[in-house]
């Protein structure tokens, strides 16, 4: 009798163990943003670009420090000044089993400018390409209008879709999954809008080994709820842990945190081109000539800012003081530039030299729902400026109102952020510091209308210099000009924190993406 019982127990135990082994391994992610679409070319915004990497692959990958790595292309070389040749990876298959070839690349590039109703397209990344020539199934050549050193960077911005499955497909077809067939590590099972996106592993994936059978992505926009979901074990990993929660999560024995600096720069733009600036007045409220036109005044503002204090107190240590527009170690960054040292005395002297010994009045504008602690940073900057005699008022508003007004040049001094998706500095130079030029497409985010001819010509030369070293040297030169004249005031780079269950590890990425194939399972 006893033996029988033991035997039964043993059998039951075996089944129980068998059942747990056979159970699918699922990784549940709680992410701050939800993509607006699964069509990878509909909306160029980071939540979409990140989700696209689950289903699709890029020709050229960006690693977690945004260096270029082979993806669907194994190599890329300039054949001549205006021709790039890409060798494609052999033996790659789409989720439906059809092979990946140069035709799919050509199809993708031709589709990009023609996605209907796209609120932000990738057209800018392919507009330099004049001709696409398929040499053979695994070789493709791009001929550009101008020599184009940045072409590999630009082709590392978007993913490749399947000609067979996506020809004539609409954005809605991608959302339903019909056309969302890629070569990527996971295939789409279902998108329950607002609730979750479910993926299953692509067993034929050409890249890394993938430890999970299933990935569930849950959009949890509220910071407190996202942290609670991790603490309660509902999700395995969350992104954008709010700085205020880092300390108590560090003490939690069941949770592991990892952090990574990001390319998200927080900076000030100053109205530096007009004589009459909207929110600048003299000490008694009288109209004065715009003092921000004087580089010395701008330098004084930069010197007045205590970057270390902002990083330590307002950002709880989750920020790195910035010297330029992308962090050290990136391509095209100057090693000579250092974060401007906190020097209120020097700032006052500069103001006096510029003819403002008693300062002036100004309003700093900023968003209050866009960047980490954005309105607190604006407050701190205002106090620091007031200390050197620039009496500063603060006005913050929701991003839906703020950015439109900032682009209409309604502000004199504004707090802004910039993230470099391409992972190098020319992108910021062209958008933030080059003279505004609607026709050539330069200075589109130059809301201070800073302008310097030498910077413009140096940058424009760099953009057609294919030799990598020469290109980088020109970019560095242009950066030193712009920062030297304080075209913008860099404050800091945000640091992103990921929280996860013990046993998982994630290195973090400078672009802030959460990519499951880079998550390491300890077991």
């Amino acid at each position: 009798m006893r033996k029988k019982l033991l035997l039964t127990l043993a059998i039951v135990a075996c089944f129980a163990i068998g059942a747990t082994v056979a159970q699918a391994k699922t990784l549940t992610l709680g992410l701050k943003g939800e993509p607006t679409s699964l069509d990878p070319h509909f909306h160029n915004v980071s939540a979409n670009n990140m989700q696209a990497l689950y289903i699709f692959d890029k020709l050229i990958r960006q690693d977690n420090r945004q260096k270029l790595q082979p993806g669907l292309a194994v190599s890329w070389t300039p054949v001549s000044d205006k021709i790039w040749e890409f060798k494609l990876r052999k033996g790659v298959k789409f989720h439906d089993g059809s092979p990946f070839t140069a035709e799919d690349v050509k199809f993708t590039l031709e589709r990009i400018p023609n996605v209907p109703n796209s609120p932000s397209s990738f057209t800018g990344f392919v507009s330099t390409i004049k001709n696409i020539d398929i040499v053979d199934a695994n070789t493709i050549r791009f001929t550009t209008e101008q020599p184009s050193p940045l072409l590999p960077r630009q082709l590392a911005a978007f993913t490749i879709i399947s000609k067979k499955n996506a020809e004539g497909a609409s954005t809605a077809d991608f959302n339903s999954g019909k056309a969302a067939i890629g070569t990527g590590p996971y295939s789409l099972v279902k998108w329950d809008r607002g609730d979750k996106i479910t993926y299953k592993r692509n067993d034929a994936y050409w890249g890394e080994k993938l430890p999970w059978d299933e990935i569930v992505v849950r959009p949890i926009t509220n910071d407190g709820t996202r942290v609670a979901a991790l603490k309660s074990g509902d999700v395995d990993l969350i992104n954008f842990v709010p700085p205020a929660d880092v300390k108590h999560l560090e003490k939690d024995s069941k949770i592991h945190l990892s952090e990574s600096p990001s390319t998200r720069l927080i900076y000030l733009h100053l109205d530096s081109d007009r004589d009459d600036s909207p929110t600048v007045t003299g000490n008694n409220g009288e109209k004065i000539k715009n003092p921000l036109k004087d580089p010395r005044v701008r330098k004084a503002i930069s010197k007045a800012i205590n970057r270390k204090a902002i990083a330590a107190r307002i950002m709880d240590g989750l920020a790195v003081p910035a010297s330029q527009m992308v962090p050290d170690g990136y391509e095209g960054t100057s090693t000579r530039l250092m974060p401007e040292a906190y020097d209120p005395k020097g700032a006052k002297k500069l103001l006096a030299k510029a003819g403002y010994p008693d300062g002036f009045k100004i309003i700093i504008h900023g968003p209050n729902d866009r960047y980490v602690n954005d309105s607190d940073i604006a407050q701190a900057v205002a106090q620091m400026l007031t200390k050197i005699g620039i009496k500063t008022e603060v006005s913050t508003m929701p991003k839906s109102v703020y950015f439109g007004r900032a682009s209409k040049l309604e502000f004199s001094l504004m707090l802004l952020g910039w993230a470099t998706d391409t992972g190098e500095q020319s992108n910021c130079l062209a958008s933030l510091l080059h003279t505004y030029d609607a026709e050539k497409g330069f200075g589109s985010a130059n809301r201070g209308r800073y302008s310097n001819e030498l910077l413009d010509s140096t940058l424009e030369e760099a953009l057609v210099t294919v030799d990598n070293d020469k290109h980088n040297n020109l970019i560095i030169k242009a950066t030193e000009i712009g920062i030297g004249e304080t075209g913008i005031v860099p404050i800091h780079y945000q640091v992103n924190v990921w929280g996860m269950k013990k046993g998982l590890d994630y290195n973090g990425r400078t672009d802030g993406y959460t990519i499951p194939r880079e998550i390491v399972s300890g077991k």
Binding site: S37, N117, P119, G124, T225, S400, S444, A445
Partner: protein
Amino acid sequence: MLAFLIRRISQSVMVLLVMSVLVFVGVFYIGNPIDILIAPDATPAEYARAVKELGLDKPMLDQYWIFLKDAVHGDLGNSFVYNEPALKLILQRMPATMELAVTAMLMAVFIGIPLGMLAGIKHDTMLGRSIMRFSILGFSLPTFWVGLMFIILFSVQLGWLPSGGRGTTVELLGVPVSFLTWDGIQHLILPAMNLALFKTSLAIRLSRAGVQENLQMDYVKFAKAKGLSNTRIIGLHVMKNIMIPVITVLGMEFGGLIAFAVVTETIFSWPGMGKLVIDSIGVLDRPVIVAYLLITVTMFIIINLLVDIIYSILDPRVRLGDHN
């Protein structure tokens, strides 16, 4: 009755029209959605393309006229952000919100009314006073704070219930619902409790006041004199009399419940319409905002109309629209 209905419907159409103008003009003047949606390094040419493609380059009056013409045909426009019909997006999310609101309302009725009656009967005891204190708390604590406390207590500390999301759904007549699976019910409990708290307090107050008032009435004294049991007097006669005002008020409040769901849905990442509209307001997705408000207002109008009609049936003294 017919004249009343016709007048009521034409008034409703006016309300909808005025509301659409207000929202349209309001959102138009806040800003241009492209400023938020477009990649910051987009060139001016790309900016102009996006503006043109979404029809935002036309004057406001033209845009409104196009909207109105399409609306008459049942098309409330495509979302700027999702490039799908706004109406479809909202209807997709509606079952989640309705499920949450109905569950919350049922909780309010089945918890609030009995507790309120109890408080009315035993108004000067410890129990009665505790119930009233609870209802004061329910009235005065902000929903988002209570929601977070629920998550911290029930999900993080005790680990009993999930912290958010909708869980497993099954299709019931083609509509996905949570309440038919155990996992779904677990996900439903916390947000529904959170949403129900305010209405439960309301139901407690209403039914307590009703019971206290009715207990003084002659018919109760008469019933007592007749020798009817207390259970029968309260459970049948008093109950019937307090139900009319309670149901009327709660019925009207149901619309509010759907609108209040916005906060609860955000905290519990519940995929309902409220969360959709909050996200849409953040990026000025005008078609979705306008469509959401039109649908909500329509719902309010219908609920009010139904309440009026039912009331006139319940109480013959009330005549619909008969002011003369």
